[in-house]
Subunit: 363 residues, 4 copies
């Protein structure tokens, strides 16, 4: 039985977004408002806890002016987060576009109330031990949190489609992690990669990945006409790579860079095969792996993906070049950090949880 949720949610289901004020929240609002399955049932939009900019009469277009409707009618109110409101409106699917700490606190409460949760933060992505190391979250009920953690499904449809369909809590993957995992999974699962040499992931992301807070690093004068590496040997998404790709820490190295563009990630991934390969063989293997995954596009050699091709889409584009030795591979993986790397993937997960085609509302 593939669609347990398809039977339990109403049609259209009642959805809500908590943390709609951030960049991912804004994209999520846009996708849900235009989603063909949600017509007639406008999502409920909440801010984050204690957020100053969400007050008594805040509307979606105050936070995201591009989402204004004709005549700027104040049609989509944004409310301070409230469980009462969630209960009153009978929310069935709750998206959390909130900081780790809030997601860690709110997700159990929502599950308790019988609401399906798709969390866009890092709070539920990692196995319990690593999670405590990486995010240092403080749970009021650690035992219950650990239990929920073990139940949470990592929301990468290309790897865990069936589990997502049945999940109560989906941990939506990190943006960098999605781009790297989708580039590597087919090759690693086939056992082709020589892990002695290690895998190098040189990843570059647009500034929206750094969030909406005005900081020294998100200042236009810092980010524009610039490129900088950061968090070398220490980015939080590394944990997702290790767990989802079944690797040890010394087998993969991931260096993020800040690109002077609004959105998009390009990861250049370097590895060696154990045996000599031909390009057609690599293509066939990847193509087969993703044959039922419509949101992954494999470029035919020698075409490589570029950020422009995937910005404002939910696609992850892959392409590669094989070295003249038939062993060294350069894989390029691109996606939009706010869509396939956040809000788009969250909607893809909702589609699966509701028993719909996973592309609905994403083309």
């Amino acid at each position: 039985m593939d669609k347990p949720i398809g039977e339990t949610v109403s049609a259209p289901p009642r959805t809500a977004v908590a943390g709609v004020s951030g960049f991912a929240g804004g994209e999520l609002a846009r996708l849900l408002l235009n989603h063909p399955r949600l017509q007639g049932e406008t999502p409920v939009f909440f801010g984050r806890a204690g957020e100053a900019e969400v007050g008594a009469s805040t509307y979606l277009h105050d936070l995201h002016p591009q989402l204004a409707t004709a005549g700027n009618m104040p049609s989509n109110p944004v409310l301070p987060f409230s469980w009462d409101r969630i209960a009153d409106t009978g929310i069935e699917v709750l998206f959390l576009a909130t900081p780790h700490e809030q997601s860690r606190e709110w997700a159990p409460e929502a599950i308790e109330r019988g609401i399906k949760v798709i969390d866009l933060s890092g709070a539920w992505r990692l196995q319990e031990t690593r999670n405590r190391d990486v995010y240092r979250l403080k749970d009021t009920d650690p035992t219950a949190a650990a239990a929920l953690q073990s139940e949470a499904v990592y929301g990468c449809p290309e790897l865990h489609r069936d589990a997502i369909r049945k999940a109560r809590l989906v941990a939506n993957p990190g943006c960098y992690a999605t781009s790297i995992i989708l580039g590597l999974a087919p090759l690693l699962q086939a056992g082709l990669v020589d892990l002695e040499y290690g895998i190098i992931c040189d990843a570059k992301s647009g500034v929206s990945g750094a969030g909406k807070a005005a900081t020294a690093k998100t200042h236009f004068m810092y980010a524009a006409d610039n490129l900088s590496a950061y968090a070398v040997f220490g980015h939080r998404h590394t944990g997702e790579l290790l767990e989802q790709l079944h690797l040890e820490i010394n087998q993969i190295q991931f260096t993020p860079h800040l690109l002077p563009i609004p959105r998009g990630i390009l990861s250049t991934i370097y590895l060696r095969f154990k045996q000599t390969m031909a390009p057609a063989g690599v293509s066939a293997l990847i193509g087969k792996f993703y044959q039922d995954s419509p949101m992954v596009r494999l470029h035919s050699t020698p075409h490589l993906p570029q950020i422009q091709h995937i910005v404002r889409t939910n696609f992850c584009d892959l392409g590669f070049e094989l070295g003249p030795d038939g062993k060294r591979l350069v894989m390029v993986s691109c996606l939009d950090n706010l869509l396939k790397g956040a809000a788009g993937q969250a909607v893809q997960n909702m589609n699966l949880m509701c028993g719909w085609n996973e592309q609905e509302g994403l083309l």
Copy 2:
């Protein structure tokens, strides 16, 4: 009777785009492929006459990689333009995203064959006399061309909605012209503007407005981190302003600038009212003018539109500030030059010509 076409085209109608290789052509392809009324009837895509990059086995994603489908399936062929192909496929609506000269030649032939035409070039926008001055087009049959010219409807739905519904040939407006006309029409029609002082339109456009040809001016090193004025006192869109706004050449002045961004136009328009006005009065007048025009959004003072708010939408956003004297007005008008300034407006016109809601496929 409002919808003559609604009765004469099939459902879904058969559409074609000639000149799909350019920026506007690519946006048009994207909009038509996703248009809810065209599902099940894929548009036919043509290149321009004599275009080298469109060959025997060219696909849409070769020209616009972002439009690739899952697995990069070669699903949308692009063909060399051919009347035989148009006849064979029974095209009912033809979009011309071609240079002036080709549009001038092809539109009469298409009309002759009973096909509705929406032309995105400047070939049919101006009255005959001015047209000969501005575009210097050579017609093989000048009398027939002049007759067709007099029948062509300027495709600004906010001004000519009813005529567009009945038109055989719609001349889709220029991008700069659309932004300025929509900003000025309500005030000029109300007779409020003191034309003694003249109207100044300082307009700024992203680089896509300069087209896909690689030239010294579209080189990244010329356009990036730069701003430049051009065609001062001499831009071709001036003619559209004069005709649509019923102005004399010395009553309006329009200076375009090249912005270091991919897309978007912001026009800052300066004028004086004949009499003292209050902001609420100006808002009310504009609001009334566009009350049935869902693609125009009026910002409430003191909010002004920005390019970011309208990029990748079909909206034209308006906002204004009135001087302390109650007479001097600064109007800001923004739109996406490839959408409301080109492909989006073309689809809006198609919607009207087919008897549909003008917003279909544009939200």
Copy 3:
């Protein structure tokens, strides 16, 4: 006697910059460190009062990494501001790159101590009455402040070269104001402009003009790929235009816009001549006005200045087009807001105050 300072300062003179942490401060440091007349006498660099990032062992390259010397030797300390330190090092010329309030407080004290001051803030640019309206500064000794205000020289060398040479306090002009004043002064002084019609100044500036503070408006995601008008009818630099160009408030209108580039201003200025002019006559008049002003470059028609031409130079570039009626003029004026609009002009003023060629260290 033209060079009172040339005789009273030592060679090389002892200089200091207060507020070196901002963008203009950084440019000032760069110019002074490379200034041929200051070799052997490194300037003293101070932060602003109460500035957290300037501590006990702060060096210039901590604030402006591009100014690091070979091997990143910690050669240029930045100190918390201190009058004792100024006295101990015998500072003769003090640059204030500080907020209005600090400049208003520190300039009188410095003058009192016999130090020449070049203030880059707005604190001393306007005549007393207007100043109180615009900047609302609170003086502990209003009478003394008003007296010093009346003595301050507006630091536009092209208009006030002789007075600057003799000044004790130079108020360095605003960036927008410089671009507009230099574009208009020759035409207004010649009495050619028809002020009935008013002058429209549509000005566009890069983001560095908004300062180093991280705010919602300096966030990369706000500024990039965008354009926005702001402070319509209300920008502080308007006062400088009125005073320096001897205009009334209803005779000139100035609208600033935020460009998605790091630096550079382009002002497009619209006016009408009282009489019919020929382009050569306009060129001759401007050329004569600036014949002894090496930092102004006049483009020959039909070439217009662009931001790229002046970025990282101290030039103000001018160019114009005259309408077919011989009366309507579009003047384009470009400069680098951090150089000719701030630090470069400040050094140009120092050069004059020290009796040197005004271009020293600026080419």
Copy 4:
């Protein structure tokens, strides 16, 4: 004897630039015009052979408007290239900023005439055998060309300072190659790098590196808001890496990317040490290697270089992070592709060839 040229060139020496119309040529013109040792002896500027834009009355500011002098005086003519002119003006040092083919033809002729040559193309960088493979140049006298090739000095002052001082022909290094060589040379020369694992160089460059020709890839709409990898496993600069770093083809892998910025290169270099190292040891080793090389700046851990820090300077900035295992190293190397990667390094080489301080005119 260190300065053979210092004795043979006049003071100031007579210099010329062939190919001044390109980006590197423009930067070279700027540097030479402001060079303190060349005051009073303006360089002679030539176009390339057969270049349409260089005609009878072309001036430097026609090609590079930012280099206009006050009043736009036509002070720096640009001439069609001519050996007669070179003879007439007694040129002693000739910079070739010309395509490979022209440099290959002109350099021998200049050397024959007793002129020192600094060639910015790839024509003379590689040993003869590899050169024939990579650049496929056709020499009219292959034996003479091979002889000259063996005499040419690779113009990396940090590696070949003494040889450059005595050279008749300096082959100025490639921009990518300079950034990678300077990052790796100290570690490789110390024998610390485990070459079994191979070295990965993920390099990113601004668009000026692609040259001034208007092509599909230099179009603003291609380059802006984008990132793309290219020439994977096949970039011409690879040969320089192999020769200068004494590596085999399977020991180093170099992938260039096109950044959406005008200028600057950042190379992220991944390697493993043979033995466990401490950060201080790595720093000390690099610091010692460059102790007499003022144009290399080493950042102290954990600071990493960024493109902004080096743009418009002749510095190459280095910084690194060492993995927790003490073996895996991420080295970041940044430079301005038009300066340290081209024109600036060429002037640095001229300084050495003339017996001057290598930093002259470069700070």
